[in-house]
């Protein structure tokens, strides 16, 4: 006997730009949206029966059609509108997940109508709406950060394949993917909370002495959970983008942590969730 196991379907990479010209400067919202539905769709696989399959093209149309009226505050609020729409639209739908990336634009000088895209980071949100409530995860992606001191890596075990020297002062650089889960079923001023969590992230990253990337995840994650009661947990995925000190001794040149080679291959990869232990996590 063969059966359909876990499954989802939807539309990805919907590129929506909304311009509000009633404001000065104009407000530009630049989103990449993915919609995915889960539910009672087994027969669409095993029978090729499309009677319950809301077309992904319809999902795309819906995102644009609802954008004018409903994309007015946070991306999380808009995601909730979209998610609820698809639950109302299809009774086979058990979970509608709306993932949104927001690309930031910065005003040029004091111009009301000219902008540069801020490629330094992407704001993310994943809104999951089910029959029994919703969950929101907010996050940051593509943010590259560096500590030029106060980062060490020592005390690790040495076996026959270990050649890495211990160091008390290295560069730590990483491209942050972080997301944090809010308390279930609570709507809030998602923009304001995002700004506060982001600020805590950067402050904690800048302030701490790091014993390892693992340790940094803890310090930063704990700071976020401690400072923001709305946050149930925070998950980080941090590549260790190694910066190796270049050996210039063959050339008779000293290099006291001044000249580095930046590398991407291979890279460390450290992933962890930091969470409140006294509440059931929002994550399955």
């Amino acid at each position: 006997m063969i059966e359909v196991g876990p499954n989802s379907y939807g539309k990805s990479a919907i590129r929506l730009v909304k311009v509000d010209r009633d404001q000065t400067p104009h407000r530009v919202r630049d989103l990449t949206i993915a919609i995915a539905l889960q539910g009672d769709f087994a027969s669409s696989y095993s029978e090729g029966d499309n009677t319950a399959v809301i077309a992904t093209d319809t999902m795309k149309n819906t995102a644009y059609a609802l954008g004018g009226e409903h994309l007015t505050s946070s991306i999380e609020a808009y995601g909730l509108v979209l998610g609820r729409h698809f639950l109302a639209e299809g009774r086979e739908v058990e979970l509608a997940q709306v993932s949104i990336e927001a690309h930031a634009w910065r005003q040029i000088g004091s111009a009301p109508d000219a902008f540069t895209r801020d490629g330094s980071e992407t704001r993310t949100a994943v809104v999951s709406v089910g029959r029994d409530g919703f969950r929101v995860e907010a996050g940051i992606a593509d943010l590259v950060v560096m500590k030029t001191t106060r980062s060490a890596f020592a005390g690790f075990p040495r076996d026959r394949f270990t050649t890495l020297p211990e160091t008390g002062d290295r560069i730590m650089a990483t491209k942050v993917t972080a997301s944090w889960g809010y308390t279930r079923d609570v709507e809030m001023d998602f923009d304001a909370v995002f700004d506060r969590v982001r600020s805590t992230f950067l402050t904690a990253f800048a302030d701490h002495d790091s014993a390892s990337v693992q340790h940094s995840i803890w310090v930063v994650g704990r700071a976020i959970v401690e400072a923001h009661p709305e946050v149930a947990e925070v998950t980080m995925s941090l590549p260790n983008l190694h910066h190796w000190t270049v050996d210039l001794s063959p050339f008779g040149i000293a290099n006291d942590r001044e000249i580095y080679v930046a590398t991407t291959e291979p890279h460390g990869l450290i992933e962890a969730t930091i969470r409140r232990s006294d509440v059931s996590s929002g994550k399955s």
Copy 2:
């Protein structure tokens, strides 16, 4: 109270090329390896205690050092050696996951020592070794396939945001990510089984009439599970890379499914697991 939740760490993007010149033609193995460890590592986060943290640089060295002796048959067998090594090396390690991508090279003519890289697909393997056994998932990535007929999409619901016409004959194109889990704790001739599963995949894809991408996942996945008793389940993630018929009527030109525009944004995304229902799945 704040605690460390699920976590893992390791080294990614280890680029290993091995050349066996004792064969004619030379045998080229070209791998991208990622190693990730899970286990009792909470204190490495919360205390910055590295005493149990096998350095990711050591992981990289180990992959190269063991390559000569142990990378001699399949990538799955090599992954098992690496995974077992790290379980033996660190008693805090509960799970060692070795992910390998194999990039194929084809002999040029009858030359023993000249090759072109086959960029058409990547073979993948994820080997997870725990204290109580192991699990192997094999797979294919980056394989772009197309059906030029016998692909339909009709009978889907129409709401106020639906504009997509029904079609009985469209192009279906997708970039395949497929992986299949083998029966737990069984070592086999992984190369031979991979070839057979891959062959079934392509044959089933070519042979069937598709009512939707969902339906195609079912047909292809079922064919694999039916034909290969070693396979417990198969998971596919298929973007629907839409090819839209270009409307040439403004120019007085007929276009009966001849001229298409290929698109990547937005795209459908269909993901599902097809599995035996009479055995407990290898997947959690």
Copy 3:
């Protein structure tokens, strides 16, 4: 005084797929097209005068509209049709350049209607049509090749910053961008000639002993120009994708050119044109 200097404008990344179902198997042509016009367009810059500016959207439409009737043999022939169209359409146009990338699809087994995309190489053509004739450059891109022996690099100068050892047997790997210019104003069976030049390229690459990437460009380029009278010159841009032998001696393991690390950063980059010296080159 300020003026408009060299300029061009056009449409890039036009994605056209054509399916001929009258053949068995179906014939799939999958093209990415760029069209660029040069000519007397200074006032479109300095005055914002669009009266001569064929819209790039119109260029896109034209590529699709002419595809049915005129994309029937080679991409070069189709490029000539497009280029001539734009010269006829706009009297300010002095040069119409049509660049086409062709992505190959391979039949699955003996199926008439199922294909895999061959990601191993891209065929390219740049067709430049002017008032006084045309020029065609054909080429290959994205083709990754490797020699596992018979590649050396020795005899180079050593200064105070030189640490690279000489080697008589290294791996040479490169991602080929090659293009060759055909005799001006001659139409030919471009598909047949392409196949022959490509074959010479691979044979010469496989057969020769390489003293350097530079030397390989010469050997391969000369072979092409010698064997194909239609070819006036060939230009190659070859990154040297270094494969370094891993030093396993710290682990007491010998590594006699068996285990390599493949790298992309940094990479050598060698570019040269090999040409007939007895004819005026087709290139400016």
Copy 4:
């Protein structure tokens, strides 16, 4: 007779990071460097004679070795040092071209040692040093800009393949690649001049009414050449990243330039040089 035509060779993608910890905040320079040599190297191709071939590995070493002492002011000044070094080192060298991309880092708050990478733009410089002098081109890459009003496209010719409506108010978005050539053989405070030119670029982009991308290139380019006597010419390559108004009328929803779909394929591509007509251009 077959000969070696134009050629160059060198090292690309050299990733150099320099940290000056004597400043508060620390100064981070993050560069990607490419070095290419031209000259009397024909025999390295046709004879495989490496006696004049400075190894590209040596070029890489040189970039790192000279970084400590000589990478102290602008990237242009450092490029001049590198270029002159290679002319001194190899008498066959006729032209040494050093291309540098500088990736910016911004201080986090007031921390002396923590930074975020500014992914919004890349500063570029190409320094070409010959036996008879040098030339410097500075530039900007990867800068995405948008005008939300005051951008039109009308008055273009309409032929049988034209469907684009005229518009008096569209979004104009582009990813800027701009470079400008300085007066030959003059060293200057390249950092200060770069900042001034960049400022002019943004101001002119924000301030003008655009009749087309071509027109914008003229307005912005002319502003730069007019305001900065050091600049002989400026070249821009601007993709037109179309934002199309979404047709929501099938859903009974008005869309007065509010909801757009952002696209990348296909895209317009406009390239031009704006230059002083009363001086001989620095460009060939």
